[in-house]
């Protein structure tokens, strides 16, 4: 989802937004806070997922604010954009440290509230399946919005030719704000969805950015369908490497990244984006 946010924003606004990792981290921290408070206030545990997603969506309200900060560098060199968005990563890290402290944050005992699913000798937490399903639904939803709605057509037109879209009367500022907010929501909701099973630390933003970039490089900048496949590829390869030869866990991903950069620099799915 973080990679999808990165792709969406780059595809339309041509901004390499490193802060997408910070949105993921903020979503996770905020998710812990809202769910903990809601449970303390008497929320039935099975409803925590609703609160978690609502929290992630609400946090996407920071999207338009950040987009406003980025406006001056839309037409500048990419290096300016990267420096500015990296500065945002550091600022968000300090804001997080100020609000939530520097210790790792974990959510209480809600991970197994939906139980476990046993298939033979394999046990899978139902929550993991919900997250996978949510990821699939969001991907389908994104596909529907981008290909079947008026907003999606405008977004695609803007991504293809900004000047022409503007000449045809598209309010670019509004489109940019909406697209950026959508990209932010993908990050914040993604972080919120993952946190019940894991922990979040201050440096998670940078880690997520690195993985998201690996996905984007493999799939090709600007390709949403490619992102979906690229993310699956990275996840599966990592899992296979851990099971077969743990030493290759990190190496295997970057070998593919290097191979793609050398053999097909535009990415495996670059054509699909066009």
């Amino acid at each position: 989802m973080v990679a999808a946010g990165l792709q969406l924003v780059f595809g339309v606004q041509k901004i390499v937004n490193l802060a997408c990792g910070s949105f993921y981290a903020l979503g996770a921290y905020f998710g812990v806070t809202v769910v903990t408070r809601a449970l303390a206030a008497g929320l039935p545990p099975p409803l925590f997922l609703v609160v978690l997603i609502a929290g992630g969506l609400a946090l996407a309200a920071i999207g338009p604010i950040v987009e406003r900060v980025l406006r001056p560098v839309y037409d500048r060199d990419e290096s300016f954009q990267i420096i500015l968005t990296f500065a945002l990563v550091l600022m968000f890290e300090d804001i997080t440290r100020f609000i939530w402290g520097s210790s790792p944050y974990q959510m209480g005992n809600v991970y197994l509230v939906y139980g476990q699913w046993k298939i033979g000798r394999l046990t899978v937490p139902v929550y993991n399946l919900i997250v996978i399903a949510a990821g699939g639904l969001i991907a389908l939803g994104m596909g529907f919005v981008l290909s079947r709605t008026r907003f999606g057509r405008i977004v695609r037109a803007t991504a293809e030719n900004r000047e022409m879209s503007e000449a045809l009367g598209v309010d670019m500022r509004r489109i940019y704000a909406r697209v950026f907010t959508l990209g932010t929501a993908l990050g914040t909701v993604g972080g919120a969805l993952v946190i019940p099973a894991t922990a979040v630390t201050l440096d998670v933003a940078v880690e997520v950015i690195v993985e998201a970039f690996a996905v984007v490089v493999i799939s090709g900048l600007g390709s949403m369908r490619g992102t979906f496949v690229g993310a699956l590829l990275v996840g599966v390869l990592k899992a296979v490497a851990i099971a077969a030869y743990p030493e290759l866990e990190l190496l295997v991903i970057y070998v593919i990244v290097i191979a793609v950069l050398v053999l097909r620099p535009a990415g495996l799915f670059a054509r699909a984006a066009a």
Partner: protein, 423 residues
């Protein structure tokens, strides 16, 4: 106008009086100047919890020392800097030594960082007493006889303790083992020590999987799947930070907790995160050099645990003991050295000489700095239980082992030492 002889004598006399007055007041000025102790600790990321605990304890110890009159009448003052990457931490070490001009530098938790700090301490002739960063292999290779660096206990102490307890208590109850350890010297040394000790105790085991996630991993889903596939009788882990509880939570969710035995050699350092809801009873849990709920604890430990909990609403962990030991050892060494030279403030070299062989009471009991600059401390661990007043697991009964029982003697390799045991 020419100066008369009387005027000249008055001038010389005045100057002499002034100079004498300066000489007289100089020691008093030195006494009033605080002793500055640099502290390097982790403040962010997966190790922040442990680093913060150490810093709190260093501050508690400093306040205690100052309330009792300071060190030879001088107040102790902490100058805190962040421990992060080896490169950046070395820069901060240099800053503390050269710019802040501290008298001693303490702290450092990461083994990787201490490997970088050790040579710099020697180069700057700066006394550095490590809390927890153990630099065994690196220092043995690069600095066999450090002068200015005082290290922490050996990397493998907690693994040695856990392995001995497990070998004795679970003999014959497991055959296949899997290791999931952080991918750096600490994790690798511990896993190796465990396998050697199993062999020594005539407990032949077959490793079916050894996984090396990087320190700070927060998603173990794929690792847990690999462990499920390997189906080991026992899982050995030396994760020591917030990642330990994430691993346990995800292992529990995947149904790995049940028939499998778990050995977490040092996760007691983040014990409050090991909730009963996902941590099994009966697993081995190492607490390192202090166990917060130890019934036979010294009055010092009981006072510390109470005050720590009153103030922070948390229960202390081993990094608290490390920070207390180091801060108190510096004070004791300065006082010991001063006594030997008639009460004057000792030089760094005299403090180092006093530290070698120094015995003192730490939070976990009696401790001692060996001549090779490595401390000996008590280690605590045991099998987990839910029978307590907390929402996290504790241990019962508590096993306590002394430094010489879990740490190899000076100048002997770990494998040779293990093989020399009579079991």
């Amino acid at each position: 106008m020419a100066t008369t002889r009387r005027q000249f004598l008055e001038l010389v006399g005045g100057a002499a009086a002034l100079a004498t007055a300066r000489l007289d007041t100089a020691p008093a000025f030195a006494q009033a100047t605080p002793v500055r102790m640099g502290v390097l600790t982790i403040k962010s990321g997966i190790g922040a919890q442990v680093g913060e605990a150490g810093l709190r304890s260093a501050q508690w110890t400093t306040d205690r020392i100052n309330k009792a009159g300071g060190i030879l009448g001088r107040k102790l003052e902490l100058v805190v800097e962040e421990e992060s990457t080896p490169k950046d931490t070395v820069e901060r070490f240099r800053k503390l030594a050269l710019q802040n001009k501290v008298d001693v530098i303490t702290g450092v938790i990461s083994t990787g960082v201490s490997l970088a700090i050790g040579p710099v301490a020697e180069e700057l002739k700066m006394l550095w007493i490590s809390w927890d960063g153990t630099t065994q292999k690196g220092v043995e290779e690069t600095m066999p006889n450090p002068r200015y660096s005082f290290r922490s206990t050996d990397n493998e102490c907690e693994a040695v303790m856990a392995s001995i307890v497990v070998a004795k208590n679970w003999k014959g109850k497991f055959k296949t083992v899997a290791g999931i350890n952080p991918d750096y010297s600490y994790g690798r040394d511990n896993w190796q020590a465990f396998l050697w000790i199993m062999e020594k105790y005539g407990n032949p085991v077959t490793p079916v999987s050894d996984l090396w996630p990087k320190l700070g991993t927060t998603d173990f889903t794929a690792h847990v799947a690999a462990l499920q596939q390997a189906k080991p009788d026992l899982i050995f882990s030396s994760h020591w930070a917030g990642d330990a509880s994430v691993l346990m939570k995800q292992a529990h969710a995947a149904g790995l907790v049940g028939n499998t035995k778990f050995v977490f050699v040092v996760a007691g350092g983040v014990h409050e995160t090991l909730k009963k809801s996902f941590t099994p009873e009966g697993m081995f849990l190492g607490y390192n050099t202090i166990y917060f709920d130890y019934a036979d604890a010294s009055p010092l430990q009981k006072q510390f645990v109470k005050e720590y909990n009153d103030r922070y609403k948390e229960w202390p962990v081993f990094e608290c003991e490390r920070a207390y030991l180091v801060t108190s050892a510096y004070k004791a060494a300065v006082e010991k050295a001063a006594k030997a030279i008639g009460g004057k403030w000792p030089t760094t070299d005299q403090v180092i000489d006093a530290l070698e062989g120094l015995e003192l009471e730490s939070l976990g009991g009696k401790a001692r700095y060996r001549k090779d600059h490595i401390p000996e401390c008590n280690f605590y661990g045991g099998f987990t239980t839910y029978k307590n007043r907390f929402d996290f697991v504790t241990i019962d009964p508590v096993v306590k082992m002394t430094g010489p029982e879990v740490q190899k003697p000076s100048g002997v390799g770990l494998k040779d030492w293990i093989q020399s045991w009579k079991v």
